[in-house]
């Protein structure tokens, strides 16, 4: 172990607080989502699997080996997504904190597998350019892990196809700034696209709803002329 107990205790609290903050800021639903923070070159603390962030204690966070995430100690059973956190930490030594979640507006672009263009200077600075979409893979698979690592190259965030978003920072505060700007930028993008599609000048959710409903006939089928949905 190349870290002292005091640092570990501090980071345990950081990871506990990160889960609570994700919930408070509506960036996660229930127990779905996970965070990790680096302890040293080959170890990280992660959130446990399937437990709610409010009742978790700092001592519940397990220590996971980055070079072999199947190895873990202390705390409770780590998140099944730990392989992705480990792969990013291994590929990117400057990254010390990672967040994987399914915020509502990020999920829209992830489900459409559409990259998010740079929406602001802040996004450019924090994310490092447009946000790409990683290749689709079933949860827990090598395909999903490799797709995420590839999409993160030179970026601090990427979408995971039909799944959610992955964000990484030099520390947890920065990782949080990134997930916040991602959700805000996705919302702005949806607003802009709605106004473009409808020709209106003021956005409302109802405007988007009406546009959506107008694309279906009375039997709930897509009206001809609309592109057929592509299968993965």
């Amino acid at each position: 172990m190349a870290w002292d107990k005091e640092t570990e205790l501090k980071l345990r609290q950081v990871i506990k607080d990160s889960g609570v903050a994700l919930l408070k800021e509506n960036l996660v639903q229930g127990t779905w989502g996970n965070t990790a923070v680096r302890l040293d070159e080959d170890h990280m603390l992660v959130t446990p699997t399937g437990l709610d962030y409010i009742s978790l204690t700092p001592e519940d966070m397990p220590v996971v080996q980055i070079s072999d995430p199947s190895v873990w100690s202390d705390g409770k059973k780590p998140t099944s997504e730990r392989k992705i956190h480990a792969a990013i930490m291994q590929a990117r030594p400057e990254i010390n904190a990672t967040i994987h979640s399914h915020p509502l507006y990020c999920s829209i672009l992830a489900s459409a597998r559409i990259p998010l263009p740079v929406m602001s200077e802040e996004m450019e600075k924090l994310v490092g350019g447009e946000c790409r979409v990683g290749a689709y893979g079933l949860p827990g698979t090598k395909k999903l892990k490799n797709g995420t690592v590839a999409a993160m190259e030179g970026r601090n965030a990427c979408f995971m196809a039909n799944h959610g978003v992955f964000c990484a920072g030099k520390d947890m505060d920065e990782a949080f700034e990134i997930i916040r700007i991602m959700e805000k930028s996705c919302y702005e993008y949806i607003k802009q696209c709605t106004l473009k599609a409808t020709g209106e000048t003021t956005y409302s959710d109802e405007l988007l709803f009406d546009y959506f409903v107008s694309q279906f006939d009375e039997k709930g089928r897509k009206i001809k002329g609309n592109k057929k949905q592509k299968k993965a």
């Binding site: 489900s111 459409a112 993008y189 696209c193």
Partner: protein, 221 residues
């Protein structure tokens, strides 16, 4: 307060806190084979009190409770139902469309798709065949499960999947998870969580059995 009533009140609060309710939401839980506890029609979940959760015989209910009663009669596997009106589900229900597997958690928790039924009991039972959730034309959604937690989770997932389905219409189209992978995820999820839910259910049934046994003892005394 009875445990089952407490559970209903707790999940009503959770649904309200998640912002996935409208004005006419109703949740219920099965009690034994022939009864259900249900929230009173016309009472908003946000205003729900202990006395607003009533016990009804599923064979004799007013029309407001018909959907719940008929589902319990038809489906022995269902122990809890949420009838909700989440904001983003409403346009899909209005369009009468089917939500495809747009997200992994949709495929796992709800299934490879969620269809819209007509607003009548036969159509709802037919649409729910082999499934745990459906939308109701020009209305909201009905979700169910072996526990109320399962039905509640389905409401959250359906609301998020609907948001993706609706908003994707202005940015392109959803790329749908292929059928095999969606069914595989559903299978793995059901296997993984069936044990957990079965435990919850056993605890609940144990509670009911204890209650019945103490009531019997009191009667005998």
């Amino acid at each position: 307060m009875e445990k089952i009533v407490e559970t209903i009140l707790q999940y009503a609060q959770k649904l309200v806190a998640e912002g996935v309710v409208g004005d006419k939401d109703m949740i219920s839980m099965r009690s034994g084979l022939n009864y259900m506890y249900v929230t009173k029609a016309g009472v908003k979940l946000a205003d729900l009190k202990e006395e607003d959760v009533i016990k009804l015989l599923i064979f004799k209910v007013d029309k407001e409770y018909l959907y719940h009663a008929e589902i319990y009669k038809e489906r022995a596997d269902i122990h809890a139902i949420c009838q909700c009106y989440p904001k983003w589900v409403m346009p899909v229900a209005k369009a009468g469309a089917t939500i495809p597997a747009v997200l992994d958690d949709m495929a796992q928790i709800v299934g490879p798709s969620c269809k819209t039924a007509d607003d009548d009991v036969h159509s709802i039972l037919k649409t729910l065949k082999g499934r745990n959730s459906c939308l109701v034309k020009n209305s909201g959604c009905i979700t169910s499960g072996r526990t109320l937690d399962e039905a509640y989770t389905c409401v959250l997932v359906l609301d998020k999947a609907s948001r993706c389905f609706v908003a994707s219409s202005v940015i392109g189209e959803n790329k749908i998870i292929n059928g095999f992978e969606a069914r595989l995820m559903r299978f793995v999820y059901k296997k993984k969580y069936s044990k957990k839910n079965q435990q919850n259910l056993s605890q609940l049934e144990e509670g009911e059995a204890q209650k019945e046994s103490s009531a019997k003892e009191e009667g005998e005394a």
